[in-house]
Symmetry: C2
């Protein structure tokens, strides 16, 4: 190992210490690293940094030796990457979303994160017809040079990944676990294929087990990496509707396949279409629509990269606070350090409940707001 | 027969003479009757009226004796009605549409024309699932006190009429033939049931055979009578799409049922949804949506009736020229007495082809424009 390699691994280990510290959100970690110039410096100075909450400080200053050794082992393995927010390898589309992860763990080739991606999501209990549609659309996207991005779940996700690989194309799976914890277990072989031709991506450090609350967070990365999200089959309570809502809030296109009015798995798609998702019958309709958006995003990226190069430091760009519209300002003014109910927030902010709940989710993902007991919310 | 009855029949016979005259459009007939005070006076003065084209004048002044005798026989039968545009029995919602018929022929009870109507239309070659959906929606509309209006065609239309009747409710069939010419023939029994509990309605005089060009004209009455139009199953070339487009242009709500992306009979519905029709899964969604519109239309009608009462004469209200938006003004300016191609019209008017073709259809139905050979259009 060269000195440079060793320095890089030390920096990654320091990142892992920050990412594993309890109660340190993405925004706080990004601010810390920017202020200190590197994760190593942030960790080294942690004892004297009054902005770090005490529990986090203790964890950073007295890391668990076994965890640290296992993090080093993960980092040493070929094809394993930790990509901090400020890295030039961090995917530009994901950087654009509110509450972007402070860092990504990648098992596979991170180059695929820069390909044009289309997310395909849907029910875990899909019908045979739904699975066939997932395969057909994934194959068409793959054959037209796009990377299919999904969540490695049973049903639609698995069918989409497998069809992309079968078409000889790369595919990206975004996980709600560490990249070394494959869930569901029966997708271990599929995950190995994705690692070999594509990438497993997660914001959760190695060894993290799946928890229900991880999956909505995972979904924002899935949609945030992609130009657009296609929902194949979804019930009214499907997590795919969260992904679709996040995609729309991220300014990305949402597509949905219609189905019979008697099919419970078409209801979620129909709801999305009523809410403004584009009804599609063919993969070409998706590709046609995204061509325009892809071109606009490319222009936008060129602009951003230009600004970036012109700026004195990369980290100042990374630290730019997310832009808020007036509704967010009203919501933030209505929030408090003491938990406030949704009804109370609606009254204070004069925002409709539906808008509030999606804004609160966005703020929760950014680490600005926490959910308290009794459906109440509190400033984090 | 009383003198009053006999005078009414004479007036109806005079209306029939005008309606049967070649080349006299709805607007011209309405103007004639208004100017002369009655259809009888218009017929009596026809020889000296220079505004009547000569072929029409000849037909009006020298009516065919056999036709006139058969018209009298039709009018004499119980349940047969001719309702001129200026009559207070003429349905108010239909009066509102551009190119409203000069008169309606009704076989059945015209009171149903004043009920809240919901149109159900769709493919003649519907699937078993489509027919079941037509029956279920028609039953629900009927049970909630609405009249189901359709076109007596095979497939969706017939299923909707029959289900409404089976639910003990009235239903209205709008025909592209005279009310005494039942098409398709196998719907003769259904037509007899509709006559007994509902109405057969047509703008075509008794004895008129079905011609292909009658059906788009029929469709505008179907949608014009109804608060909204529900399309159950429709291919991309279905006449139901014309009905839906006319409904939208008439300011009425359009609803469509989604279906599998692999079903050719869902394609038309999906196109409508993309173009702004409301995707519905249940009859309640239609009823909820129409409740609001029904209330607004009722207010509008109250307003109109108020204006009407305030006006000196009914016929001056009836003669009010249809309001034109600036796009129609541009299109009319681009038209000529010599045929003009669609491309040329697009260039002259700077209107998109898609908008042009639907505006031209509306003008054609109003008798302002005629289609000429080679896809060209000419002022009528």
């Amino acid at each position: 190992m060269t000195t440079a390699d060793s320095a890089a691994v030390d920096e990654a280990v320091a990142w892992l210490a920050l990412l594993r510290a309890p109660g340190l959100g993405a925004a706080a970690i990004r601010a810390l690293v920017a202020r200190h110039g590197s994760a190593r410096a942030a960790v080294a100075q942690a004892r004297r940094d009054p902005t770090i909450p005490s529990a986090a400080r203790d964890a950073v200053c007295s890391p668990d030796g076994e965890t640290q050794a296992s993090d080093r082992r993960w980092l040493d393995q070929p094809g394993h990457h930790l990509i901090p927010f400020a890295s030039e390898d961090y995917p530009a589309l994901l950087r654009d979303i509110p509450g972007a992860p402070a860092a990504l763990f990648v098992a596979g080739d991170p180059i695929h994160l820069w390909s044009a991606q289309i997310a395909i999501v849907g029910s875990r209990n899909a019908t045979a017809g739904g699975l066939a549609n997932a395969r057909a659309f994934a194959k068409a996207f793959a054959q037209s040079g796009n990377v299919v991005t999904s969540g490695l779940a049973e049903g639609i996700d698995g069918a989409a990944h497998a069809a992309a690989l079968d078409a000889g194309a790369a595919t990206i799976a975004v996980l709600g676990t560490g990249t070394d914890v494959i869930y569901p277990r029966q997708h271990a072989e599929l995950a190995a294929r994705i690692r070999a031709n594509g990438a497993l991506v997660s914001e959760f450090p190695p060894g993290t087990a799946g928890k229900p609350e991880h999956f909505p967070r995972r979904n924002r990365i899935l949609s945030g990496l992609s130009l657009g999200t296609l929902v194949i089959e979804a019930g009214l309570n499907s997590g795919s509707l969260i992904t679709a809502r996040l995609a729309a809030e991220q300014g990305r296109e949402v597509f949905a396949l219609p189905g019979s009015i008697h099919s419970p798995l078409a209801r979620g798609c129909h709801k999305l279409i009523r809410d403004g998702a584009m009804l599609v019958e063919t993969a070409d309709e998706v590709l046609d629509q995204l061509r325009g958006i892809g071109a606009r995003l490319a222009d936008h990226l060129r602009g951003r990269l230009g600004d970036h190069a012109a700026a004195t430091g990369r980290q100042s760009a990374a630290l730019e606070p997310p832009k808020r519209d007036p509704e967010y300002t009203r919501l933030l003014a209505a929030l408090d350090r003491a938990p406030v109910s949704l009804d109370e927030l609606a009254e204070r902010s004069r925002l409709p409940i539906a808008a509030l709940s999606s804004m609160l989710l966005a703020l929760e993902l950014e680490g600005v707001v926490s959910a308290a007991s009794g459906g109440r919310y509190v400033l984090a």
